[in-house]
Amino acid sequence: MGVNFNMASLRLRESQIMKIHYLTGIVSLFAVAIHILFRLIMPFGQSLLYQNVISNYHNIFYALLLESILVLISIHGFNGLRIILIELKQSSRWESTITILVLISMIGIIAYGTRTIVIASGL
């Protein structure tokens, strides 16, 4: 429909990317608010005790919340970085390079954070 697909690549229009940017921003606002509330339901220092944090990870819903925050903020943050870098300089080579580097960084952070969530859930 709105996605221009060709054999070489899957390209999104900039307006579609901006909609994703806004949507990830708004959804992560609510997800991060719940994440912060988990630190404030008891004294802040106490909430960071190892056993308390691990017990948070054992809650499957909280683990899923953390995973969604990880994905949402990675998409939002690295796309924001892409926008800033493309504003500073414009050429098709620069834009392609930035897009590829940003995608690699985003996937790397999501993979590393997911590893923590999976291991901590099983501790």
Binding site: F44, G45, L70
Partner: protein, 155 residues
Amino acid sequence: MNNVPDNKDFTMTTSGREGIRGWLNPTRYGWERVSYWLQRLTGLGLLIYFIGHVYETSSLTNGINAWNSMLQLTQTLGGHLFLLFVIGASTFHTVNGIRLIFTESGKGLGKPGRPDYPYHAASLNYKQKSGIWVAILLACIAMLYGGMVLFGQGG
């Protein structure tokens, strides 16, 4: 307010592009320009914090000693002050981001009119400016509350 760069600006740069210096210059375009670069600077700061936070929490996987030694780095005066900056930056970025979503969808921009002297842009109106001020005010309140939690009892 003069939004057109003077001749001096064109003679200083051969291509007309000023790069990061132009991006950071808040002097010519009023509060909207300040909001523009604050949104980007807070965004960059929050991305760096996010990457650091993902790395910091990964110490959980190495056991209680690794977690406690990582906490010792963050549970300091400097660590708490940095967290206060993160609270303020995230609040400003969120509220100003919501303002920008409304702006991009055409809300609060005013009606287009004939350009008469002194050429005040209808889009740069009090609704936009008050949105920026509300973002700054809420960031200050969030930092105040954050300070009470971090430096208060049990922080």
